[in-house]
């Protein structure tokens, strides 16, 4: 009699795993960068004159400039459809004025990017231009938009792949910023 129960038992084990699997997101890959220093870069600012010489003040930005601050790096592009979904959330976040939000304009045309910000509003403290996507490679960008929370010591503490939703902002990002700023 017992051996006829084996298929049922096997199936029940499988069903438990399937139920556990339902609560997980298979496309979410933990970033190996979490807990590591944010990769360094120096990139021209979107609002700077592209013809200005490299040394000009306020023409470029580097994570070094943010030492001692908790800040957010958001990877976006004017061609990215999900960024438009995420945009209002970022605008709301900027209004709170809790931490600087730096935009990394990824593989984009300057004119398109500027037009996009003019049209939808500019939540960014400033945006930098990663035209060829090199910095994106250092950060392991594989789905735009992506958002990083970086602490005072320059370590990446959180990475969001895909749009930041209001829920993620309220339950994860804001509490984390508060804790890191202490």
């Amino acid at each position: 009699m017992k051996r006829f129960l084996i298929p049922l038992a096997l199936f029940m084990v499988l069903a438990v795993f399937l139920a556990l699997g339902l609560n997980r997101n298979p496309s979410e890959v933990p970033s190996p960068l979490v807990g590591k220093p944010a990769p360094m870069f120096t990139l021209p600012r979107l609002d700077a004159d592209p013809q200005a010489p490299a040394g000009t003040a306020n023409a470029s930005f580097s994570p070094k400039d943010m030492a001692g601050k908790v800040w957010l790096l958001n990877v976006w592009a004017s061609w990215c459809v999900s960024c438009r979904v995420e945009h209002p959330v970022l605008v709301d976040f900027a209004k709170l004025n809790i931490a600087p939000l730096i935009g990394l304009d990824y593989k984009d045309q300057r004119a398109d990017a500027k037009g996009w910000l003019a049209k939808f509003g500019d939540p960014y403290t400033l945006s930098v231009v990663d035209a060829d996507g090199r910095v994106g490679i250092d950060y392991g960008v594989y789905g735009v938009p992506e958002t990083y929370v970086i602490d005072k010591a320059g370590l990446i503490r959180f990475k969001q792949i895909g749009p930041v939703t209001n829920e993620i902002l309220q339950t994860k990002i804001l509490p984390l910023i508060k804790e890191l700023q202490r």
């Binding site: 029940m12 069903a15 795993f17 399937l18 298979p26």
Partner: protein, 648 residues
């Protein structure tokens, strides 16, 4: 108005399914003739209602009714009519409707072609199918209603995913679903037999043709899907071990085992419990496949947007159906008598080995598919399982199976004579070894894998040919004989295709300016030019690629890169010059020239020897199944069995 009618028909169909699922089964249990008689009319009414509902949805698509949310999400006014019609099953809600339409279609077929079976048996089978249908209809009505309105209506639809705008969409899903859903009939027969406590050879004979027909559809559906992936995705591959491919392949493997095990149960009365378990497994895996595709628990090219509510519902449904039937099995199976005894060397033993190998193969494919999920659920990290796992596990399991294909049909039931079999296979073995050693040299370089593949293929070809010749001496054999050998022959054809593609394919990714050439497989491929060509809902860059051999032009191919208006993703349309012994496959990569300059493209040129044999082999397998299912004896003997059953 039409969508509301469709919705209403769906709700009515659900109510009818409940009646069909409950009253006939209870009636059969209590011997209530009136309730038993309800089964057939209920099944037929349900089919009519679902067909009507399906027609309503199709009408909404063809008439561009963008006030229906599902239509607005999956169609567009510029979409050609053929794709508007097939876009009905281009998304989640519509594929479910197609699924229940198929299910009610199979039920209708059971109600029509079961006149010779005992009434109580038919009532139970139709009842079980009604319960399954009720579950799916409930799923649709509660979580995935295709007729939901969109207010205000969209001005135009978002368009069908460009990947799906292909004749492949017209045929592949319906075929595949016919197969998937068809196993529900074998399942219903098994459950009905367990409920009745009547698990005998007659039961096996009744469910055999149904199982085989479902298997034929599944074989064709998988082959079509594979061919579609080959020409549409532009990578030149024909099988990717993608979770959703696996979800259709595991029921196929178990279904294949079931077909063989049903033969034993019918002829010898053995393996009864095992056969019932296989019938439950085959359909359970079809349901599990639905769960994996529809719930989004696995990442896959086929995955649809995940909705947690849907996942929970299907999982509950899965637990009730599979858990319930396995519990019924555990309760009833111990009372089933053992069949006739058989010797170590006998057809029973060989078919048992066949079953074990196929089941182990199915289990390892399933394990590989679910492994990322298991590891993630245990919190042990994220990983993915790729083709290397599947190839290294699957291949060794198939080798003994291929070897036994030639041996099995020779063996007698009960007790076979090993020495006699060896004698009759001697010539085939010699031919196979010669082929394994010699053939690879004729085609290209000699490698062990190519040699092994060709050896096994010739082994099957030769032994099949000898067995047919021997059998013809004693008169014209029945269709089931031809069916079995056609299917086995198809396996050998398939093996040739896989072996030679794997062994000798050439893939070149090259940068080509207009007028440049590349040599591949003895052919010269020349890029003549790239022009812009408008399509109905896209603009294409169409290449003109000339194919020549020895200075003679063989063909001009037109691969395309299409930009659909509705999405930003450029789509690759490959151009293939197909042949009996080789395919030449050209697809356009990216333009490499600066805007305005003369066109320079990255071009993928593949040489695929004998690749059409892969799908040709599947066609032979399907043909074999069709022959076997249409064998005369099912029509005759079923009648006799029914008479005996009525008398008993």
């Amino acid at each position: 108005m039409t969508p509301e009618l469709g919705q209403l028909a769906l709700i009515l169909a659900f109510l009818v399914a409940l009646i069909q699922g409950v009253l006939p089964i209870v009636g059969a249990h209590r011997g209530h003739a009136g309730w038993i008689a309800l089964a057939r009319p209920a099944a037929q009414t349900q089919f009519a209602l679902i067909l009507f509902s399906f027609a309503c949805l199709m009408q909404a698509f063809v008439a561009n009714d963008f006030s229906v949310a599902y239509v607005a999400g999956h169609s567009n006014s510029k979409l050609p009519t053929m794709y508007r019609a097939s876009a009905v099953w281009g998304g989640h809600e519509g594929s479910l409707l197609l699924w229940v339409l198929m299910l009610s279609g199979w039920t209708l077929a059971v109600s029509l072609f079961s006149r010779q079976l005992p009434q109580a048996m038919v009532a139970r089978v139709i009842g079980v199918l009604g319960l399954v249908s009720a579950g799916f209809l409930m799923f649709m009505l509660f979580t995935s209603d295709p007729f939901d309105r969109l207010l205000p209506a969209a001005a135009d639809g978002q368009d069908l995913n460009p990947l799906l705008q292909d004749p492949g969409l017209v045929f592949h899903p319906p075929m595949l679903y016919m197969g998937y859903v068809g196993f529900s009939v074998a399942f219903a027969f098994a459950i009905a037999a367990l409920l009745a406590g009547r698990l005998d050879a007659a039961w096996a004979r009744w469910s055999r043709p149904w199982t085989t027909v479902a298997w034929v559809f599944l074989t064709l559906g998988i082959a079509l899907g594979s061919y579609w992936a080959y020409y549409e995705l532009g990578w030149g591959g024909w099988w990717f071990w993608d979770p959703v491919e696996n979800a259709s392949f595991t029921p196929w493997l178990v279904g294949t085992a079931l077909i063989h095990s049903l033969a034993v149960t019918e002829k010898r009365g053995s393996f009864k419990n095992w056969t019932v378990l296989l019938a439950i497994c085959a359909f359970s895996l079809s349901l599990l496949g639905t769960f994996l595709v529809r719930s989004g628990v696995l990442t896959s090219v086929h995955a649809f947007a995940a909705d947690p509510k849907r996942g929970v519902f299907i999982l509950l449904f899965l637990t009730v159906v599979i858990g319930g039937s396995l519990a019924l099995f555990a309760w009833r199976a111990p009372k089933v008598s053992m069949g006739g005894a058989f010797g170590v060397v006998s057809r029973e033993t060989l078919l048992l080995i066949n079953n074990v190998l196929l089941m182990v193969a199915a289990a390892s494919v399933l394990l590989g598919t679910l492994y990322p999920l298991l590891i993630d659920a245990l919190g042990l990290g994220k990983l993915s399982v790729g083709p290397p796992y599947f190839n290294s596990v699957f291949m060794p399991l198939m080798l003994p199976l291929l070897f036994l294909i030639a041996v099995g049909p020779l063996a007698r039931w009960k007790q076979a004579d090993a020495r006699d079999m060896a004698q009759r296979l001697r010539l085939a073995a010699v031919l196979a070894v010669i082929a394994g050693i010699g053939l690879p040299f004729l085609i290209g370089a000699w490698t062990p894998l190519v040699a092994l593949g060709l050896l096994l293929a010739v082994w099957i070809f030769a032994s099949t040919a000898f067995q047919i010749r021997e059998r013809l001496k004693s008169g014209w054999p029945p269709r089931s004989f031809w069916g079995m050998h056609a299917a086995h022959f198809g396996i050998a054809v398939f093996v040739v295709g896989v072996t030679l593609v794997k062994g000798y394919e050439v893939e070149k990714d090259v940068r080509m300016a207009v007028g440049e050439t590349v040599e591949i497989g003895g052919y010269t491929v020349k890029l003549l030019g790239v022009n812009q060509v408008p399509g109905p809902n896209y603009v294409a860059q169409r290449g003109d690629v000339e194919l020549s051999k020895g200075g003679q032009v063989r063909a001009v191919l037109h691969p395309e890169k299409r930009n659909y208006f509705s999405s930003q993703m450029p789509m690759t349309e490959t151009a293939i010059d197909s042949g009996f012994t080789r395919d030449l496959y050209v697809s356009l990569g990216e333009p490499l020239n600066a805007p305005g300059a003369a066109p320079v493209w990255s071009v993928r040129v593949y040489y695929k020897p004998f690749i059409v044999w892969i799908w040709g082999g599947c066609l032979f397998m399907a043909l074999g199944g069709a022959l076997a299912a249409s064998d005369r004896r099912y029509r005759l003997k079923v009648k006799q069995q029914a008479l005996q059953g009525a008398a008993a």
